[in-house]
Amino acid sequence: MSHEFEPRIVVLCCNWCTYAGADLAGTSRMKYAHNVRLVRVMCSGRVDPAFVLRAFQDGADGVLIAGCHPGDCHYINGNLKTLRRYPALETMVAQFGIEPDRMRLEWISAAEGDVFVRVVNEMTEQVRALGPLDWKRRAAVVDRNESHTAG
């Protein structure tokens, strides 16, 4: 049985700006790709790079981190920490062989429902073009373990 590939995209978005922006898109009856799974965090600065790696490991085809515009952070500078971490995370994820289009950082304010819609739709199409990441299968190994599951 074959069916068309629908990307699974995890969106890690901050409570104060992007989540409210997504809400605005919803209450304004704007339509956007249903491929996103929103995970609300208090601040984009709360996004441990491990969340992104875990998402890819557990089957996400793409990960979007979204927060307040620099200077607008509810916690003054939480998003600046994300801004600084992101370039290294981007390089590291690429070193693992994951295509750059599968990960994205965007600043989306509570007033920018339309930006949220555009970013989500754009990213969904980019990831759709790349196809499934399917990390578990791709990084799978011959199981050499007789009696015990690691980890």
């Binding site: 790696l53 875990r54 620099p70 600084r84 015990h148």
Partner: protein
């Protein structure tokens, strides 16, 4: 005719090396004269680097005959896998000794590649390779004198716990003499932590480091150790060296930072860490002195090899674990 008085049974100890450099065996010798204390309480039944044993000797042992096996090195071929399984059967307690057995270690970085690409490099295009016929190792070769067998090389490097159940971990590349003696004393006294524990401390290298750290540190730029003269009293990370101390388990006494080298992370992740690379990435880059995107990109971009820096000893046990073969690995 009274009963024969039995001498208290000595601890039966085995030490084996797989994909390792021999440094872990040196670590045991590094305890210096205390090796005599170990010999006083333990019979060393297997130690290939120091004594002559044959694999067939191991086969003659009963299952569980060995009390403790200190296994160092990662597992990357079928000979090592066989020995890991065999020694598991023969040993009551299996200890992953050193960073390679615990996390895959430096050999674990081979998970960036696979057997084919490694063979292509090693037997193909490295500067020192002369191999006009393109000969690569074969597991079976027939020669007039008979059949020759060499171990099969795997695509993956495994930590010990990925191939057999392991009771304890003693990390370090190499474990310091103190770590070795802590482990030996715990084993000899029977005062062992719960199965699955790392024998050592649960604090970070930074906790043990005597350098002064500021409350709100800022990194102006990343440097490699040979590029700058470091202040001997100030935190190395604040001076721009990629020191893994904040994300790495202590127990080494902060050995590298005390001699002006940044911590490389050989004692592995701290307890409850999700992923040591994510921890280190987060800690190091969050404090870069940049408030806008272009500046952050330039300054963080100087950190040349994030994967190799953050997973230098731990790639096989990390979340993503390897570069998939279908994605360039």
């Amino acid at each position: 005719m009274g009963e024969e008085r039995k001498a208290p049974k000595k601890l039966q100890l085995a030490m084996y090396w797989a994909a390792s450099c021999g440094g872990c065996d040196m670590a045991v010798l590094d305890v210096n004269e205390k090796i005599l204390d170990i010999a006083a309480v333990a019979d060393i039944r297997l130690w290939p680097i120091a004594m002559d044993y044959k694999y067939k000797d191991i086969d003659t042992w009963a299952d569980g005959e060995i009390d403790v096996c200190l296994f160092n090195g990662a597992v990357r071929n079928n000979e090592q896998l066989h020995l890991a399984r065999l020694l598991r059967r023969k040993s009551k307690v299996m200890v992953a000794f050193g960073s390679c057995a615990s996390f895959g270690g430096i050999p674990g970085l081979a998970n960036l590649h696979c057997k084919r690409t490694i063979f292509e490099a090693v037997y193909g295009y490295t500067a020192s390779t002369v191999n006009p016929e393109g000969t690569t190792p074969q597991t079976h070769t027939h020669v007039p004198e008979g059949d020759l067998h060499i171990p099969e090389f795997f695509d993956d490097v495994y930590s010990l716990a990925q191939v057999i159940p392991v009771e304890y971990y003693v990390p370090g590349c190499q474990p310091t003499p103190d770590s070795v003696m802590t482990a030996v004393n715990a084993i000899v006294s029977g005062n062992l932590p719960p199965v699955g524990s790392t024998i050592g401390i649960g604090k970070s290298v930074c906790d043990e480091c005597k350098r002064t750290k500021s409350d709100k540190p800022k990194i102006a730029a990343f440097h490699r150790p040979q590029e700058i003269l470091t202040d001997p009293d100030k935190c190395l990370l604040e001076q721009g060296l990629t020191c893994m101390g904040s994300a790495t388990r202590g127990g080494c006494g902060s050995l590298c930072p005390s001699v002006n080298m940044p911590c490389r992370g050989c004692y592995g992740p701290l307890p409850n860490s999700l992923d040591v690379g994510a921890d280190a990435l987060s800690a190091m880059t969050s404090i870069v002195d940049a408030a806008e995107e272009g500046d952050a990109r330039t300054k963080v971009g100087k950190l040349a090899d994030p994967l190799g820096t953050f997973y230098r000893f731990t790639l096989p046990v990390s979340m993503l674990r390897r570069v998939p073969k279908s994605m360039g690995g």
